[in-house]
């Protein structure tokens, strides 16, 4: 699994271009998240792809070849945080509810909705942690689940900021400019 972070223009069609590219390279996406950044014109993507290092290089470089992608970087081997968020609706009745609550507490999940026959858990963390909680909830009956997909950020001084300056190109290309 390879994790690539990309800054892209926040405008319609960009997600389509990124998705189209991964399809063309025959790279399977495990999760892709997009959200705005502090600059509303720029969105940040975290792409988790089933590929090897070579495939990740190809994807990263090809992403950066897209006009709307400002920067793409493979951060798989760098110290980083990865977070996924899940809402899980579990079957629960009077009898097993306290036991269920105990388990959820161990995983630092929060119960955000309680109904007579079910409850909703909100849990965030690494994929492994969420998968772990899911494993213990399964015997109770998981009725529904929604996950955001991963977001990732490199640790400490390893800053990944969108480029602020305009690109180097601003002069016109002439039509028959013979070299």
């Amino acid at each position: 699994m390879q994790t690539i972070v990309a800054y892209v223009e926040n405008k319609p069609g960009v997600l389509n271009r990124v998705a189209s590219l991964t399809r063309r390279l025959a790279i399977n996406i495990d999760s892709l998240t997009v959200g705005p950044t502090e600059n509303e014109e720029i969105a940040r993507m975290t792409i988790c792809a089933h590929t090897d290092e070579r495939g990740a290089h190809r994807l990263e470089a090809s992403l950066e070849n897209l006009v709307d992608v400002l920067l793409a970087e493979n951060i798989t081997d760098r110290p980083m945080l990865e977070r996924d968020l899940a809402l899980i609706k579990v079957a629960a009745d009077q009898q097993n509810r306290p036991h269920l609550m105990e388990l959820i507490k161990v995983f630092r999940g929060r119960v955000v909705d309680v109904a007579p026959e079910s409850l909703i858990v909100e849990v965030s963390g690494t994929v492994d942690k969420i998968d772990g909680l899911l494993e213990v909830l399964r015997p109770f009956g998981v009725l529904e689940m929604a996950r955001t997909g991963r977001i990732a950020m490199t640790r400490g001084n390893d800053l990944l900021r969108p480029p602020a300056e305009a690109g180097p190109k601003s002069a016109d290309a002439k039509a028959p400019a013979r070299k």
């Binding site: 069609g13 305009a166 601003s170 039509a175």
Partner: protein, 570 residues
């Protein structure tokens, strides 16, 4: 100054230096055509929009600038798809402008509406819908910039009809290109650079692999200096042909599937490959597991995505070919590789000594003869535009190119039907050049409607049809790999000379070898288009051949009997 979107479009193109547009009108682009009529732009009416894109492509390849194609929405736009993909695979800077239905109709399946930006997303470098008149000038300027910078490629601008009709204030400085603020990568990696220099200066059996990147960078002179400093022999990709004179003793010729045996053998025996502006296409490498196993590899390439894509390299230098070679030059030692070059010469054996011209005339007309005669007659000074197939490979083997941009051919996509329209584009870009179309009887029939364009534009384009009555390259594969079961490869063709006549073009048919040179000379002496139908040997094959997926040294060599068994010396 207040102008309509259509006028703004024409004015912008004019200011960008465009003089020729290859296109076909229709409902959704009519406002632009109305404005075109009032502009100084020369519009070439094509017979099919695929032709328009090939012409723009040929124009770009012959001139080194951007070619422009135009079409209406719907079928006009979809007809462009093959030409756009052709330009994409060969990194050709083409800007396509398509009309689109009015913005309020978008998504309603209106008459001749098609999502052309969706369709062309994977085959363009960039594409965009413009639905506001204020955005037209800036977007078109951006399109030119994107098409012709970095690794060039096609860009499609889809302009809605209401944007063409609306009016806006037009001021050149206010509509400067505003591309997203991309990260500027610091491509120079000292470690990789140093490793490359060390490899260059210590190799004993090096070979340079020269590709189209050298032509696109305009780095022919720097490249020549680099070769003559390092004294390293050069093998070329199909699209690299012309970047280094064929007459140079260090030029080995084309490599790959139909490369000469000594070229491929030299690559397999090399201890260092220096790839410049090429991308290790499968037609060049053969089986990757056995490709140049003893060689370290240096890759000089402008597109970072090409590094380690097919072949893992030992040193990668990302950047423009010319700039990179310029930076390397002071560090490259003058070295003596004469023993290695002599060894490669020896690999040629006697095949290079027996000139194909000196073979006796047995009454058979071989394509290789025709092409070699064309080379002799034009002294290699013509711009030759080929189609795709056997004749294309013979063209690469038997016509020797000393000048850049004199061989124009569809390499990556291998688009049949490319030659005739691309030659029209090349002739528009270089009106003073002698332009020859060399096409097979199959590919020619795909786009022969453009003969009418030649007549309408009064163009002096010479056409040589290498007519063997088969889809020759496919037939060859059927001969080699499908036990000679010639399914769907024999093909009927019209009498091409009579067909040409019906368009008002002089046509000739040549069936014997002694008629070849007189026919070529007679065509060259005419100041109008001439078509010559060369009826060549039907079941001739291109040798050598590395079967698809086989190792590069595993070649099917020229058989000893048939006449065309030898190479020709440049």
């Amino acid at each position: 100054m207040k102008l309509t979107g259509a006028e703004i479009l024409c004015e912008t193109l004019t200011r960008l230096g465009v003089r020729h547009i290859f296109g076909y009108p229709g409902g959704a682009i009519l406002p632009v055509y109305d404005a075109l009529g009032k502009s100084r732009l020369h519009h070439i009416l094509v017979r099919h929009e695929q032709g328009a894109t090939h012409m723009a492509d040929g124009y770009a390849r012959a001139s080194g600038g951007v070619g422009v194609a135009m079409a209406t929405s719907g079928p006009g736009a979809t007809n462009m798809v093959t030409g756009i993909a052709t330009a994409m695979l060969d990194s050709s800077p083409v800007v396509c402008i398509t009309g689109q239905v009015s913005s309020k109709l978008l998504g309603s399946d209106a008459f001749q509406e098609v999502d052309i930006t969706g369709i062309t997303m994977p085959i363009t470098k960039y594409n965009v819908v413009v639905s506001k008149v204020e955005d037209i000038a800036r977007t078109v300027r951006e399109a030119f910039l994107i098409a012709n910078s970095g690794r060039p490629g096609p860009v499609l601008v889809d302009v809605t009809k209401d944007a063409q009709q609306a009016s806006a204030e037009f001021e050149w400085d206010a509509c400067a290109p505003k591309l997203p603020p991309k990260r500027v990568r610091r491509n120079h990696d000292q470690e990789e650079f140093d490793r490359a220099v060390e490899l260059l200066n210590s190799a004993k059996r090096p070979v340079i692999l020269a590709g189209r990147g050298i032509l696109l960078s305009g780095a022919m002179q720097t490249f020549e200096k680099f070769v003559h400093t390092s004294n390293i022999p050069v093998a070329m990709t199909l699209l690299g042909i012309g970047c280094f004179p064929a007459s140079d003793p260090l030029n080995l010729g084309m490599m790959g599937m139909h490369g000469e045996a000594w070229v491929n053998t030299a690559i397999q025996e090399a201890d260092l490959l220096i790839a410049v502006g090429m991308r290790f296409d499968d037609r060049v490498t053969g089986d990757l597991r056995t490709y140049a196993r003893n060689a370290r590899k240096i890759h000089i390439e402008v597109d970072r995505a090409e590094i380690n894509k097919n072949v893992k390299v030992d040193a990668a230098i990302i950047g423009d070919a010319g700039e990179t070679l310029e930076a390397l030059l002071p560090h490259v030692h003058e070295r003596d590789h004469s023993a290695w070059v002599a060894h490669i010469q020896q690999l040629k054996g006697d095949s290079a000594v027996r000139d194909i011209q000196s073979l006796p005339d047995t009454g058979h007309l071989y394509a290789a003869h025709v092409i070699n005669d064309l080379w002799k007659a034009t002294q290699g000074n013509a711009v030759v535009v080929t189609d795709v197939g056997q004749h294309q490979m013979w063209e690469a083997q038997y016509y020797h190119y000393n000048q850049p941009r004199t061989l124009i051919t569809s390499g990556g996509l291998g688009t049949m039907g490319f030659a005739l329209p691309a030659a029209i584009g090349a002739k528009m870009a270089r009106p003073d050049a002698e332009v020859w179309v060399v096409a097979g009887d199959g590919g020619f029939q795909m786009t022969m409607c453009e003969l009418a364009t030649i007549v309408q534009e009064k163009l002096n384009v010479k056409i040589a049809i290498i007519n063997n009555g088969y889809l020759g390259m496919v037939r060859q594969w059927q001969e080699f790999f499908y036990d000679k079961r010639y399914v769907a490869t024999p093909l009927v063709a019209p009498n091409f000379a009579a067909l040409a006549n019906s368009f008002g073009i002089r046509g000739e048919t040549v069936t014997a070898r002694k008629e070849v040179i007189p026919a070529i000379e007679s065509a060259r002496n005419s100041d109008q288009a001439v078509l010559i139908d060369f009826r060549v040997e039907q079941e001739d094959s291109v040798y050598p051949m590395v079967p698809a997926g086989a190792a590069l040294h595993d070649m099917i060599r020229r058989p000893h009997n048939p006449l065309v068994e030898t190479a020709s010396e440049p």
